[in-house]
Amino acid sequence: MKRVPLLFLNVVIIATCGLIYELLAATVSSYVLGDSVTQFSLVIGIYLSAMGVGSWLSGFLETNLASKFIEIELAVALIGGFSAPLLFLTFANVSYFAVILYSMVFAIGALVGLEIPLLMRILKDELDFKDLVSRVLALDYVGALLASLMFPIFLVPKLGLNRTSLLFGMLNAIVGIWGTWLLEPLIKKNLTLLRVKGFVLLVLLGIAFIKADSLTTMAEDALFPDQIVYAKSSPYQRIVVTRGKLGHSLFLNGNLQFNSFDEYRYHEALVHPAFAAYQGEPKRVLVLGGGDGLAVREILKYPSVESVTLVDLDPMMTGLSEALPALMELNKGSMKDPRVSVINADAFVWLDNNDIEPFDIAIVDFPDPNNFALGKLYTTRFYGLLRAKLRPEAAVVIQCTSPLYARNSYWSIIKTLEAAGFYVKPFQTTVPSFGVWGYALVKQQPFETPQNAREGIELNYINQNSFASLFDFPSDMTLPSDDIEINRLDNQALVRYYETEWRRFE
């Protein structure tokens, strides 16, 4: 029969694919976990023993061998083909990466282990047992050799890990589909269903292969429940805007910055207490961070304001409202207002270097201190630099992360502000998309807690009652201990508090 040599070709391909998946798993894991000796040795060990398990399991399969062979082939194509992208994504997003890695290696090993005995049993009627064993095993090892040569010389350098994985998944799927024709007489039922499955899988792998570069985006799609309307990487961060039932949301590096449904709560609380605490008519306002223009929208409600200087690191962020009409609508075109000047710089460096006229009000709205580069924007040194750019009677509000979820972090910022010589009124409010959120209202002299926002300003959230309640702290959000450290450049205590506290919620 003609199909015998072709089935032998299948053996070579199966063996090659199997070894490629093994090498991929070992490479990806030593890439991301380091210590390649351990990773390779564990992966090879688990893979080989899983093959043994697979071979043993093959003994329990009695009937319908050909169709089971195809099913297994397609399963290998699915798991093996998507193994590398899946491992990368898992590593980025879950902490029990090793469990997933080794389970995956085991599953692929077991399935590959099932294949060869099944194929031998399918072929046993066509050939002598002696010839069968000698050829199948010989070809099995030839396949292994091919894989181990191609992997380092051609596949990894030219295709990369993701595409190699997907390519071999496709090969496996093709073998499966092809098998439905080769073994057609042996497949008793569901022939069409098998073929459909095979083609669907092949197409999926093919799409992933072509789109391998946008796998990052695919990962994001999985992470963000709503439809993505904007996604770009600047040199500083990944900016993603989604649109859902409740409105638009902005994410920086996957962290929610606002949801248009309730952002007014956040931004009213961020801006208006500073104006309330300022005696007189504030003219010059500084905004640090806040490139979305939403804080500026609130600031521009005050007719006395003559200039707003907004310092934000990322030009892509400060230009976002140009690119996204929905944001322009939300911030009421604040970024285009003639009173607003935008400076793209790291606020730390900008405050240190620039000789500028002092400000009456400053709004400090940085992302949460989840890395050292952001942590420096919450240090005594930073607040010292900020003080030097303020008029003596200036009022400042600083966003300080959540006093509920990150209580130590919040109070570390408060203590740092005090250590920098500010008089501080901690306050908090509830923003449903974020939860309970914390701020600090500070001045350079002792001051009374303001009682209400200024009159004549149109507000959606703050009124006399809610303003007074901002400064109340329930017991679960008060200073947890007197030992909370001050955040300095040379200790970055805040980044460590923050990481410990927010990790609990991941």
């Binding site: 030593s30 890439y31 991301v32 380091g34 210590d35 390649s36 590593f91 980025a92 040199p235 500083y236 690191l313 790291d346 730390f348 460096v349 240190d352 890395n371 050292f372 580069a373 942590g375 420096k376 240090t379 005594t380 040194r381 010292g384 300095r488 450049l489 040379d490 200790n491 970055q492 980044v495």
Partner: protein, 531 residues
């Protein structure tokens, strides 16, 4: 003799790595750059035994001549000026002052060519603190009397990270993957250092303190100088690979020597002299983007009109009433009659310049051995992207575990610049080869740049793409080598004494190279001259 690239990389980075690196395709892009000069030719003029005539109108009469403008020489000049002795001249071989603390100017920040930090001195080191006060680096004293350094001058966190098997980890000691035995040995090692931190002799002196002149000379302490640090660790049963690496790194970093080349006294000095009390933290570091160049600039300012650069001192003749000094700038010869001279140059050069030194040698200058280094400054147009989201981020000091180099310091770090262009300073001590100095000078810019980039590429595969420029300094005599027996040997003690009217001031006289030691000897010589 030209060597192949594989031989070059084998020499500097080790055979297995060279083999791997040479299999990879050569990068398409290679940055520009040059060898930043040390005035080697003018320096070696001394070896030629030429004679230099000074015409009568080129002789000047001054009170004190200081030969050398490294930290010791500049400190002596600074101190003399403060003591009211203004009639001085400082002679420098190079075109810039500062010796191994010199720095370069760059954008967005300056960068060091050598020494790049100073641990905050103990409160007892009042004269050094006086310098820090004068430079406005301080903001008062704590209740205990310790100097408080302004936050922006203390090394910003994250301070250190180490690259090991494909990933960056926080800190210098590698905790990731340590075994129970590693943990036990590390804690055992800390018990030993703690013991020495607490140790006091009969006179209440510490075993290890800065400046080292104040260290105890008790026999128990002195005995540590007889063996190598490696031997000391073996004697204590400490064999953990990562602990040995950590100690070896410390020796290479501070002394330019390997573990088995370094005196155990010097090794323990490194770990104990900056810890105030047992279990305490090591003193924090004062640092600037341009490293200790900031100190040099301040000290040099006080004598900027009295400093002559590119001057090779070719003869120093002690006379009955003083010293006659002749220098040569490649074209013109100048002479100085002075009452006192401060010799603030590497001590091994003394016999080449001081006439009659060898006839009744006060000490054996040849036993002052120094080691050589190369330092590369890389200008990057951007920082490498982290390879994994959880990799520890770029720190001030970035160390490669499996490398003969010391890794690199990020000059932009202290300025708070965390995005965009950066300047990295890469350090490589030539302690892995028997004849490091000759080897070093066999190589030109291109080869050393290749070594540096190939080494860094293991952690930053995109380094060739990011690096626009790489300048390299070859330091032939970078640091005195504190090999066993030298620090507590006779020679060093003898060299501390003046030779006729010549006073020696150099960190060599402590037996190891540190800013504080150079500063101490500069002050000492200035005071001796005043008396």
């Amino acid at each position: 003799m030209r060597l192949t690239r594989r031989e070059l990389l084998t020499t500097f980075l080790g055979a297995p790595f060279a083999f791997a690196a040479c299999r990879e395709s050569r990068p398409d892009r290679f940055p520009d750059g040059e060898l930043a000069g040390q005035n080697v030719d003018l320096g070696h003029i001394l070896r030629e035994h030429r004679t230099f005539e000074v015409s009568a109108d080129k002789w000047r009469q001054v009170k004190v001549v200081i030969v050398g403008s490294g930290v010791a020489g500049l400190t002596a000049a600074w101190k003399l000026s403060k003591q009211g002795i203004e009639d001085i001249v400082v002679l420098e071989l190079e075109k810039d002052v500062g010796g191994t603390s010199k720095s370069g100017e760059g954008r967005p920040v300056g960068y060091p060519w050598g020494a790049h930090y100073l641990p905050v001195p103990f409160r007892e080191n009042t004269e050094l603190i006086e310098l820090l006060d004068e430079m406005r680096l301080t903001e008062g004293r704590s209740a205990e009397g310790d100097v408080i350094i302004k936050e922006q001058f203390l090394c910003r966190q994250p301070e250190e990270r180490v690259f090991y098997k494909g990933r960056w980890y926080e800190g210098l000691y590698l905790h990731a993957g340590e075994s129970e035995e590693d943990i036990r040995q590390f804690s055992e090692f800390q018990k030993h250092t703690d013991h020495w931190v607490n140790w006091r002799d009969g006179k209440g002196r510490r075993a290890f303190v800065v400046p080292s002149a104040l260290c105890s000379d008790d026999a128990e302490v002195v005995a540590l100088d007889k063996i190598s640090f490696g031997e000391w660790l073996r004697q204590k049963g400490l064999t953990s690979e990562r602990l040995l690496w950590y100690c070896d790194y410390a020796c290479r970093d501070d002394y330019g020597l390997k573990l088995d080349q370094t005196s155990a006294w010097a090794g323990l000095f490194y770990f104990c002299s900056r810890v105030r009390k047992s279990g305490g933290e090591s003193q924090p570091f004062i640092t600037f983007p341009e490293g200790n160049g900031r100190f040099v600039a301040h000290l040099a300012e006080s004598v900027k009109d009295k400093t002559l650069r590119s001057q090779a001192v070719v003869s120093i003749v002690p006379t009955e009433s003083g010293v006659d000094i002749v220098c040569f700038d490649g074209a013109e010869t100048l002479g100085f009659h002075c009452e006192k001279a401060i010799y603030a140059s590497p001590i091994f050069t003394a016999p080449y310049v001081i006439r009659g030194f060898n006839e009744a040698a006060p000490f054996d200058a040849r036993s002052f051995h120094s080691n050589s280094w190369f330092v590369a400054n890389l200008q990057l147009k951007d920082r490498p992207k982290p390879r994994f989201s959880r990799d520890f981020p770029l720190a001030w000091d970035n160390v490669l575990y499996d490398s003969h180099s010391l890794g690199y310091v990020n000059a932009t770090h202290q300025k708070g610049i965390d995005h965009g262009p950066a300047i990295w300073t890469y350090y490589y001590p030539m302690c892995h080869e028997p004849d490091g100095r000759t080897k070093l000078f066999n190589y030109e810019w291109r080869e050393l740049a290749d070594v540096c980039l190939t080494d860094l590429a293991r952690a930053h595969p995109d380094i060739h793409e990011l690096c626009d420029r790489i300048d390299i300094m070859r330091w032939g005599h970078a640091m005195i080598s504190p090999t066993p027996g030298f620090i507590h040997g006779e020679t060093r003690a003898k060299a501390l004494k003046p030779y006729r009217n010549i006073h020696f001031a150099h960190t060599d006289l402590s037996g190891f190279a540190l800013f504080e030691e150079a500063f101490y000897h500069g002050l000492r010589a200035a005071k001796e001259v005043k008396e």
